[in-house]
C-alpha cells in the first residue's frame, strides 16, 4: 500500500468528488443526481462525500464554485489581448455567451444554482468571480471617462442577467455559430447604451 499524507488523500478524494459532481449535476441536474451516484463516479462512497462535504448541497456548491472559477479565469484573460476597454467588454460578452454552450455550465450555474443555493448565495459567489470581472471592466471604462455614470454594480448585474438569457437562447439555437452574432449584436447595443 502506498503511503500518502492525509492532505494528499483528502485532496485527491475531494477533487474526484467535485469533478464527478460537476459531471453528473451538469449532465442530469441536481435533483435527479444522487449522492451515491456522485460518490460512485468518484470511486468512493457516500461516507467519503459526507466526511468532506456537509451534504448534497455543499457538494453542489463546490461544483458551482468550480464552474464560476473557470468562467472568471476565461474572462480575466481577455483584457490583455484587446486594445481598448470597449473592445474588451464586447469580447467578454461574447466569451460569456459562448460559455453557455457548455451544458454543464448551463445546468449548474444558470438553471439549478439559484434554486438549490438561493439567490443570495449565488450572487455572493458570482460577485467573487464572474461578476467581479465584469464589474471591473465597467469600472475601468468609467474611470477612463468612457462610460456614463450610474450604479455600476446594478448595471453589471443587469448586463449579466441579459447575457445569461442570451446564452440560453444561444444554446437552444439549432445553429449557434450563425446565431451568436445576432445575439451578441443585441447584447452589444445594451452596452453601447452606456458608452460615452
Amino acid at each position: 500500500m502506498i503511503r500518502r499524507t492525509q492532505a494528499e488523500r483528502s485532496d485527491e478524494t475531494t477533487g474526484r468528488l467535485v469533478r464527478a459532481a460537476r459531471e453528473l449535476f451538469g449532465a442530469h441536474g441536481y435533483a435527479p443526481t444522487s449522492i451515491d451516484a456522485v460518490a460512485a463516479a468518484a470511486g468512493a462512497t457516500k461516507g467519503a462525500a459526507y466526511h468532506h462535504f456537509g451534504g448534497k448541497l455543499a457538494l453542489f456548491r463546490a461544483a458551482f464554485v468550480a464552474e464560476q472559477e473557470e468562467v472568471a479565469a476565461a474572462l480575466e484573460r481577455i483584457p490583455a489581448s484587446e486594445s481598448d476597454i470597449w473592445a474588451a467588454l464586447r469580447r467578454g460578452c461574447r466569451t460569456l455567451l459562448e460559455h453557455c454552450l457548455d451544458p454543464g455550465f448551463r445546468q449548474i450555474v444558470l438553471l439549478d444554482g439559484p434554486s438549490v443555493l438561493g439567490w443570495e448565495t449565488v450572487r455572493e459567489i458570482e460577485y467573487a468571480h464572474t461578476l467581479r470581472v465584469l464589474l471591473g471592466g465597467l469600472e475601468l471604462a468609467a474611470a477612463g471617462g468612457q462610460m456614463a455614470d450610474g450604479d455600476l454594480p446594478v448595471r453589471a448585474q443587469l448586463v449579466f442577467g441579459a447575457l445569461c438569457e442570451g446564452g440560453m437562447l444561444l444554446a437552444r439555437s439549432a445553429d449557434p455559430a450563425a446565431d451568436l452574432p445576432r445575439i451578441a449584436a443585441e447584447a452589444d447595443r445594451f452596452l453601447e447604451a452606456f458608452r460615452l
Copy 2:
C-alpha cells in the same frame, strides 16, 4: 350532502390545490414542499392531487402558469393608461420590477422555475404570457418607427433577463422604495439604447 356537478367538484379541488401550491412552493421552494403538504393545505389528500395532476411537477407547472398569468395581466393593463409607447414600456419595466417584491413570484418563477421545469418549458410559458406582452410592446414601438431594427424576440428576452436580475436586486434591498428608482433608471437606459 349538497349535490354538485363533477365539473364543479373538479374545479374547486384543482383551484384549491393550485392556490395551496402557489402558497407553499412560493414560501418554501419546490424541493422542501411535499405533495402531502400541498394537498393538506388544500383540504384534500395526495390522491386528489395525483388524480388532477400528473405529479408534483405538473402541480408546480400549474402554479408557475398562474404566476405568469397574474404578471401578464398586470402588464396588459398598462398601455391604456399611458400616452406614448415609450412611456408604456418604461412603466412595464417598473411593473415587472415591482412584481419581484412578491416572494412567491420570485421563488416560483425566477428561482425554481428553470430548475424544475427546464428552460425550454419556462420560455414556452413565458412566451405565452409575460414575454408576449413585452415583445408586443417592442413590436409596437418598432412598427411606429420609434425603435431600432434588430431581432426583437432576442431583444425582449435580454430585457427580460436584465429585469429579472434587477427584480432580485430590488427584493434584496433593505429599502426597496428607495432603490427602485435607481434600478429602474439603469433598466430604462437599456431600453433607450434601442430608441430612435
